[in-house]
């Protein structure tokens, strides 16, 4: 084997990764070397830096999308405008999470750990970038692990609360278990095809029949990623972790890591296992989606804790996101999925913003405590109501359009059969079920005329800013649905295959 000197300029292909790394280094140096009295500015600084990164991403996307098409490390790393757009969508979510967490990060308890929270958060985001850009399973596994391990540390951040530890241990054990299963599947794939490059695997599987080993391998890979996405039946960690983790971490976990994992899942299935679409994974996903949406909805109905309630709601939302994967990378479906992720970021972060503000002010988390909230805190209740309407998919809010597009996307696969219509019908029926429990919250806030246990309070400037952004996103994306056609043009110009 000849020895090739590595060309270090190819690192420059990773534009967004480099940007994120610079943000990370600045935050790290600030945290390490600046005196304690200037540390209070750290959350704001991180948010501003991430905002700059996001704006740069949007500008690049609008002005010169073709410059974002890059390949590095012999095809291990690929960036296209579609992938860059997804990273920018994740950035938008991260900015909102950062804005919402300012108040929590400046509380007396967090004063010692402020820097750690932001550093870990940026590292996990870096891992997610690698996950969506990887075209080789080694890079993918590294991205997956660096996205999920620091998250366990973030879940355990709240050292004084017992639930935080319990959630962290449940998270880390299931995460390691799932990645072990995932890597077992990979080893079988490697044994069958002799490569870990996505396109080599695709080529090796072309024309090869389906054997038992391949089925086991694919099932292991799907269940490994399914754990990260909390698809039923791999969802058992979700509710406990969401409930135990600090609220800022929960909101990050529920939207950003889920969005990244969903897109990476699509890339793996289409680019590496695309040959097995009709034979194997279409039906695996079919079963997973029905189970995920239905079980998530049914369990959400009986939850009393708001964070657990949103956990199960996010399980069922993950099922809807998967509808964008099942049509084998059709451009419309990919665009619909990205739009869904963006809308989901806004709606879920609005809900978590309200919950976080109320938790900080009064410590209340139970749904019964929200009864009559409209009398004491009308603005927060309206924000919560909009979030619930959007999650349930009531027009004219963004959630309706994202659901509409994702159903369209699921039916856009070539040669779509009756089975897919049945799947979409089941998803539709489940939307109506979900309407029931989302409206339970609205009913508790507006119609119940009990004396509300939550005192009127004024939320801090950062929390209000975060809520204004999310509410603007919910309403704005509902009205300006042309944004979807922009994404659609993008995915059609740069298809995944």
């Amino acid at each position: 084997m000849e020895i090739v000197n590595m060309d270090y300029t190819q690192f420059l292909a990773m534009k967004q990764e480099i940007g994120l790394l610079i943000v990370f280094i600045v935050v790290f140096l600030y945290d390490t070397f600046l005196p304690a009295k200037s540390q209070k500015a750290l959350p704001g600084l991180t948010a501003v830096l991430m905002l700059i990164l996001t704006v740069c991403g949007i500008v690049f996307e609008a002005v010169a999308p073709e410059t974002l098409s890059k390949t590095a490390f012999a095809g291990m790393y690929v960036s296209t405008p579609v992938i860059a757009a997804l990273k920018t969508i994740l950035n938008v979510g991260v900015v909102i999470v950062l804005i919402q967490s300012v108040n929590w990060a400046n509380s007396s308890f967090m004063a010692m750990r402020r820097g750690e929270f932001y550093e870990l958060l940026l590292v996990t985001l870096f891992g997610m970038y690698l996950m969506v850009s990887a075209r080789h399973f080694l890079l993918f596994v590294i991205g997956l692990e660096s996205a999920s391990l620091p998250l366990a540390a973030m879940v355990a951040l709240d050292k004084n609360r017992y639930e935080s530890h319990e959630a962290a241990v449940k998270y880390i054990l299931t995460a390691v278990f799932s990645s072990a299963i995932f890597m077992l599947g990979l080893s079988f794939v490697y044994g069958l095809t002799g490569s870990l490059y996505f396109n080599d695997i695709y080529a090796a599987l072309t024309g090869a029949g389906v054997n038992m080993m391949l089925i086991v391998a694919l099932a292991a890979v799907v269940s490994g990623v399914g754990f990260k996405l909390s698809l039923v039946p791999f969802h058992l960690w979700t509710a406990d972790v969401y409930q135990g983790a600090p609220t800022s971490v929960t909101s990050y976990l529920s939207v950003i890591s889920k969005g990244a994992a969903a897109f990476a899942f699509l890339v793996i299935l289409v680019q590496a296992f695309g040959m097995l679409y009709a034979q194997l994974w279409e039906w695996m996903l079919y079963a997973l989606i029905i189970l995920t949406i239905t079980v998530g909805n049914l369990f959400a109905i009986r939850q009393k804790n708001m964070k657990r309630f949103l956990a199960f709601s996010s399980v069922s939302q993950a099922g809807y996101i998967m509808l964008g994967v099942i049509s084998d990378g059709a451009p419309v479906a990919t665009a619909a999925m990205m739009f869904y992720i963006l809308v989901y970021i806004f709606s879920n972060l609005a809900a978590f913003g309200v919950i976080g503000a109320i938790e900080r002010a009064s410590g209340k988390l139970s749904m019964d405590d929200y009864r009559g909230l409209y009398r004491t805190n009308p603005r927060l209740s309206v924000a919560m109501m909009l979030a619930m309407f959007s999650l349930a998919g009531i027009p004219p809010f963004a959630g309706f359009f994202s659901k509409f597009f994702i159903f369209t996307g699921a039916l856009s696969a070539p040669g779509v059969g009756t089975a897919m219509y049945v799947l979409v019908l089941i998803a539709l029926i489940n939307t109506i079920v979900s309407l029931y429990y989302y409206l339970l919250v609205v009913k508790a806030m507006f119609i119940a005329d009990d004396q509300c246990v939550i005192e009127p309070f004024r939320s801090s400037a950062s929390e209000r800013l975060g809520l204004w952004i999310t509410v603007a996103g919910i309403i704005g994306l509902g009205i300006a649905s042309w944004f979807f056609s922009e994404l659609n043009v993008l995915t059609a110009t740069y298809p995944l295959i």
Partner: protein
């Protein structure tokens, strides 16, 4: 070996023993990669490299999990998973 690890993970009640079982599973995967590489594709080193990285990742996982378990021990004074039932549906 992988099956042993899964069995151990499911049946053990001590968190350290569960972690050991997880290590067993990860090591099984590593051996799987090395063996496939050595006997099926002796010309390349992809599996070997994957194994090297997987070992590093497994070490990081263990360190983090041990740290969290120590936290639990401080709070609870034991590390039996049956005690971790404060949150249930």
């Amino acid at each position: 070996m992988f099956a042993c690890g899964v069995y151990g993970f499911i049946t053990r009640k001590n968190m350290i023993a569960m972690l050991v079982s997880l290590e067993l599973m990860l090591n099984a995967v590593d051996i799987n990669f090395v063996v496939f590489n050595r006997y099926l594709f002796p010309g390349a080193f992809e599996g070997m490299f994957f194994t090297l990285f997987a070992i590093a990742i497994a070490a990081a996982e263990t360190a983090l999990a041990i740290a969290i378990i120590i936290n639990i021990f401080r709070a609870e004074k034991n590390i039996d998973v049956r005690n971790l039932d404060k949150m249930k549906f």
